[in-house]
Subunit: 475 residues, 2 copies
C-alpha cells in the first residue's frame, strides 16, 4: 500500500473496496452525519464511509492510516456532547457503523448476546426479550443509539442503579485498532484474568483509541413482577431517605429511583398532551420508584406499602400513588421521560449532566440551584434524574420573559457555576454523557496531572498518528 | 536526585526515608517475602521495603526509578501464580504494603469504603459489617490476602455470581505510578465518564503498571435471609440445569453456586475431621447452592423447595439437604472450603484455574477429565468450583500408589491437556488467579497478536523503564 495516498486516491480506493453504497460524498447524503442532534456543532467531512462488516472497517482504517486521514466513528449520532461529529476543518471521514446491525448470537444459557456495533439499543432489547432474556440498558435515545455508541460512551440511563452502566453489561469486544488490525476479544466469560483489561479501555473512549465493531453483552432474567410508585416528598433529604429505606429492605428490587422537581413535573403537565400531576396536590419535590423482581411471588405492592407507610410516618413522603397496572406504570414513567421535551417547549435551557456521591445529592440540588439563581435571577432550576446513582441532570430553565438566546449566551457561566458546586462535593463534571467536544477544555482542570498524563501516554501508544476521532475526549 | 544512585546508595537513602522498621535486609527478615506459599518459586531481593503511607510509597518508587531498581509490590503474598515474589536474580526490592492497613472511611449512605492496600480482606468484611453493610468478596485466602492484592489480581471467589469480581466492587483507586507520581482516583461515584477508565487498567495488572495504595470499594445491604442447600445431582448437565432453574426463579438470590465431584467430597470426608457426606447416599456429582436476600420475608426455604421439587421430578436432583440453621449452613460450606486441603492430604495434585462459558461447564468437566485420565491412567479428576461463573478448578489428583513427584513432573503436560479442551470451548486459561510468573509463557499463544501488542504498548507507555514487577503478566 502506498504510504503517500492522497485524499482523492484514498476515496477512489475506498469506493473500490466498499462499492457505491459504502462511500457517500454528495453534500445532501452526508449532511445528517455532520451535525449533532442538539445543534451544538456543524462539522465537515470528505465522505461518510459505510462498511458492511469488520473486515471492511479494518480495510478502511488501514487505508485512512496510510493516507493520514482522521476517522470519526459514528453510531446513532445521539451524543449529547458532540462526540460523533467531525470538526470543521473537513479533512476527516465519518465512519458509520449503521450497516453493521446484525445480532450475531444470543445464548439464553450463558445469558449473553453478541451484537454488532450498529445494532440499535431498542433492537437489542427486543432480541433479548424474544429469547426470554432482558437486556437492561434503557434511556431516552434507545430507539436511535447503537450498541457501539453506548459502549464507546459508557452510557448509563435509568436502570444503572440495578444493572450498572454499559461497561458492566459488557463481557467482550471486537475492536478495529488504529493501525487497522482487528482485535477479537469477543469472550463470553464471567472470569478471565489474562493480562490487562483492554476491553475496559475502549469503553468510554468515544472512538479515540479504536473502533468497536461488535460486543458480547450480559443478559438477565426478565422480571416477573413490576411496580412503579410516584410520590411527593418533603424535600431533597426526604427523597434520599426513601431511597435508603427501599435499599435496606430489598436492594435488588430497585430498578430505578428518579428524582424530579415539582417545577419539572409542572412543565411536563403543561406541555405534554396526556401528562397530568398524578397526585391530588402539587408538591415541590417528587420521586419515581421502579421496582422489579424475577420472583413472581415478590409481592412488590406489600413491599412498597410497608416502606411508604414508614416513610409517611416519618414525614418524608407526603402522598403516593402506586401504578397497579402496566398502563398506569407507563403513564407514571412518561412524566419522567418527557422532562427533556417539556423543558425544550418551555424555553431555552442549559443542561448539566453531573454526578456526586449519593449522600450528597440533596446538597447538590440545593446549592447548585441557589447558585444559578444568584447568577441569573429568575432562572428556574429543573433538576431531575437518577438519584440512586448520584447522577442528576442539573438543568436550568431560562427566566420567564427573558430572551432565550441571551440566556444561552450565559451557558458556560451556568455550567461553571454548577460545576463549582459539583467539585466541592467530590463529584464529576460528566456523569453519563462523556466528554466529546463539549467538555475537552475541562479535562485539564479536572483530570490534569498524573491522570491526564497517563491518558495521553495511552493515546499516543495505541494511536501514534492521532487519526482516531481527533479533538474528542483529550484536550 | 542523582540519576546514578547505586544499589547501596539507594538502600541508604531508603533507610533514611523509611526508618529502620521500613527497610528489611537481614536474610531471616526478608525470607518470608521471597517465596510464594505454594512453594513454586524461591526468589531473591536486595531488601523488603515497608512504607507506612502513600507518600512513602511514592518516595520509594521515585528513588528506585532513579536507581533503575525493579520493584515487586506485595500484599498478603497469597498469589496462586507467583505474582508477588521476586525473580531469582536478586536485583529487585520487594515493596510490602502491609503497614498501609488503615480503613480511611466507610459511608453507609454512599455504601462505600475507602481502604488502604494493606487492609486484610477479612478486616474489610468486618469493618463493613460493623457499619451494617456487606463487603461481599469472599474466598479461601481472605484471612491473609489484602485489598491491594485482590484488586491487582482481580480476585473472584465464591460470590462472583451475585456481586461480581473484585473489579466490579471497585469505584476508585489511588495508585503510585512507575515514575513515583501519585494518582488520586479515589472517587466514590456510580457514574463518571471523564476520559479513559484508568482504574480498570490497574485492576488485574498484578503491579506491573503501578502500585495500588488505596481503593474505594462498593458495599451492599447485608442479607437478612440465608439458606444453603447441598444436593446430589444426576450428572454435570443436571447441575447446570438446576442453576438455570434457580436463576429463572430469582437470579439475585444466588449468592454462590458450586459444583463438587463426588470424589472431591470423598476426600474431604476422609481427610478433614468433622466433615462427612451430608446425604444418605454417596453420589458422583454434587452442588452447593447458597441463597441470600436482603428481604427478611424472602422465604428462601419455599423457593428452594419449589425449585428442588421441580428438579427432582425432572430427574436432575437425586437427594438434597437444606441447612436450616447457621451452624448447618457453615458445615455444608465446609465441605466445599476444605477441598484444597483435602486434595493436598490425599497426595500430589495439579491445579487448573480455568473458565468457559457457563453453558459449556459440563462439557469442560467431562472432556478435561477424560483427557487427563487418558494422558496418565489412574489420574483422579477432582473438579470443583464456581459453576455459576463458568469457573471450575479443574484439579487432578495423582493416581493411587504413584509417586507424587513423578506425577508433578507431568504438571505441564496435564495443564496443556486441560487447556486444549478449554481452548476448544472458548474458555480462558486463567479465570481468577491471574498470570503471575506461572503463566506468562502462555500469553503469546492465547493473547498474542493485536491484543498482546496493545498490552505491551501500554506497559511501555506507563512504565518505560520496566521497573514495575518485571517478569510478571507479560512474556
Amino acid at each position: 500500500m502506498p504510504d503517500t495516498l492522497t485524499p482523492d486516491g484514498l476515496l477512489a480506493e475506498l469506493a473500490t473496496l466498499l462499492g457505491p453504497a459504502g462511500v457517500l460524498t454528495a453534500a445532501e447524503d452526508i449532511a445528517p452525519a455532520l451535525a449533532d442532534w442538539r445543534g451544538l456543532y456543524q462539522g465537515k467531512a470528505m465522505a461518510v464511509l459505510r462498511p458492511a462488516n469488520t473486515q471492511e472497517v479494518s480495510a478502511c482504517v488501514t487505508l485512512c492510516a496510510a493516507a493520514g486521514i482522521p476517522i470519526v466513528p459514528q453510531g446513532g449520532n445521539t451524543s449529547m456532547v458532540g462526540g460523533a461529529t467531525p470538526t470543521e476543518d473537513g479533512n476527516a471521514v465519518v465512519l458509520s457503523l449503521a450497516r453493521m446491525n446484525r445480532i450475531r448470537a444470543i445464548d439464553p444459557v450463558d445469558m449473553t448476546m453478541t451484537a454488532e456495533a450498529g445494532v440499535i439499543v431498542k433492537a437489542a432489547q427486543d432480541a433479548a426479550a424474544d429469547a426470554n432474556c432482558l437486556f437492561p440498558l434503557s434511556f431516552g435515545g434507545e430507539g436511535t443509539a447503537t450498541i457501539g455508541g453506548v459502549l464507546s460512551t459508557n452510557a448509563g440511563g435509568n436502570t444503572t442503579v440495578r444493572y450498572g452502566n454499559a461497561r458492566e453489561l459488557m463481557l467482550g469486544l471486537e475492536v478495529v485498532l488504529p493501525d487497522g488490525k482487528v482485535w477479537n476479544g469477543l469472550r463470553r466469560l464471567r472470569k478471565d484474568n489474562t493480562g490487562y483489561a483492554l476491553r475496559h479501555l475502549f469503553v468510554g473512549a468515544e472512538g479515540t483509541l479504536g473502533i468497536v465493531t461488535a460486543a458480547t453483552l450480559r443478559l438477565f432474567a426478565p422480571p416477573r413482577a413490576n411496580e412503579v410508585l410516584f410520590c411527593s416528598v418533603r424535600d431533597e433529604d426526604a427523597a434520599l431517605a426513601v431511597f435508603r429505606r427501599f435499599r435496606a429492605v430489598d436492594e435488588t428490587a430497585i430498578r430505578a429511583f428518579e428524582y424530579m422537581s415539582g417545577l419539572g413535573v409542572d412543565f411536563a403537565a403543561k406541555h405534554i398532551p396526556g401528562v397530568t400531576w398524578p397526585l391530588a396536590e402539587r408538591a415541590d419535590h417528587t420521586i419515581l420508584v421502579d421496582l422489579a423482581s424475577t420472583r413472581a411471588d415478590a409481592d412488590l405492592q406489600s413491599l412498597a406499602e410497608q416502606v411508604l407507610g414508614d416513610a409517611m410516618e416519618a414525614g418524608e413522603v407526603i402522598d403516593a400513588v402506586v401504578g397497579g397496572s402496566e398502563a398506569r406504570r407507563q403513564a407514571l414513567w412518561r412524566i419522567r421521560e418527557e422532562h427533556p421535551e417539556a423543558q425544550r417547549k418551555e424555553g431555552a435551557s442549559v443542561k448539566n449532566d453531573v454526578s456526586v456521591p449519593v449522600s450528597k445529592v440533596p446538597e447538590l440540588i440545593r446549592r447548585a440551584s441557589a447558585a444559578c439563581v444568584a447568577l441569573i435571577p429568575g432562572t428556574r432550576p429543573v433538576p431531575f434524574g437518577h438519584m440512586g446513582d448520584g447522577n442528576i441532570h442539573m438543568n436550568l430553565e431560562q427566566p420567564e420573559g427573558m430572551d432565550g438566546d441571551a440566556f444561552l449566551a450565559r451557558s458556560h457561566d451556568i455550567m461553571d457555576t454548577v460545576n463549582e458546586v459539583v467539585r466541592e462535593l467530590d463529584g464529576s463534571f460528566s456523569a453519563e454523557h462523556g466528554i466529546g467536544r463539549l467538555k475537552t477544555d475541562m479535562m485539564e482542570a479536572w483530570r490534569g496531572g498524573a491522570e491526564l498524563d497517563a491518558m495521553q501516554r495511552i493515546k499516543a501508544a495505541l494511536d501514534p498518528r492521532g487519526i482516531m476521532n481527533p479533538g474528542k475526549v483529550l484536550p
